[in-house]
Assembly symmetry: C2
Homo-oligomer: 129 residues x 2
């Protein structure tokens, strides 16, 4: 048995639009950004959490990448969750050391990632047989 939940909503932008988009979404949410944006080695910047503990994050993509919104499934067993969603019709796009990028049957990208926030995960994750 393993568990998962929709843990993160990410708004992804290439460097060309990242700063303007990050300033916009922080303003739209009424949240403060850190002074420097995301560091080069970690392209993620947290905005704030939605009620219920779903995180809202910005991601700086590579140059020329189309901007988009994507979802992360947070799980206590990445290989088991990847196998579960592949059996439901997803396909694996890229395997990374700690997480996997997949696409739904129409090509919408999403990720399966390890537990990000233990307290919210414990409270809200669904157990799969």
């Amino acid at each position: 048995m393993h568990r998962s939940r929709i843990g993160v909503v990410l708004i992804d932008h290439p460097p060309e639009s990242y700063d303007a988009a990050a300033a916009f979404w922080a303003g739209a949410r009424g949240s403060e950004r850190g002074p420097d944006g995301p560091p080069a080695e970690n392209p993620y910047e947290s905005l704030d959490r939605l009620p219920g503990g779903v995180m809202l994050e910005l991601q700086r993509l590579g140059p020329g990448t189309p901007p988009r919104v994507h979802l992360d499934l947070e799980t206590d067993d990445v290989p088991a969750e990847v196998a579960r969603v592949v059996a439901l019709g997803a396909r694996v796009v890229e395997e990374h050391e700690s997480y996997t990028v997949l696409a739904d049957p129409g090509g919408v990208p999403f990720c399966v990632v390890p537990v990000q926030r233990a307290e919210d995960f414990e409270r809200h994750a669904t157990t799969w047989p």
Copy 2:
């Protein structure tokens, strides 16, 4: 003064991939779909709510439209919320009778929509001066 919140996460697919994607996401969430999918006159189908009352919905787009995920800002005053986010850097893409489609500074689409679920809105919306 008006209020808004991120009220809906929508997974959008054209007819070519809608049914397979809807079956996939319902399975991924462990939720049951209605027997018929969305009726032609209303291309939205609710999956379930995330903890905290954010709705998860599927939308059937027009033929050939690229699939995507988008967010809805739910508000008790659509014109005031559109003005607020335009002042922050968004641009209006399409105005409909009850809602407005916009894009963030990098082109990511989102919508400003009237209150969808009064109880969750009352509980979680932010008041803007």
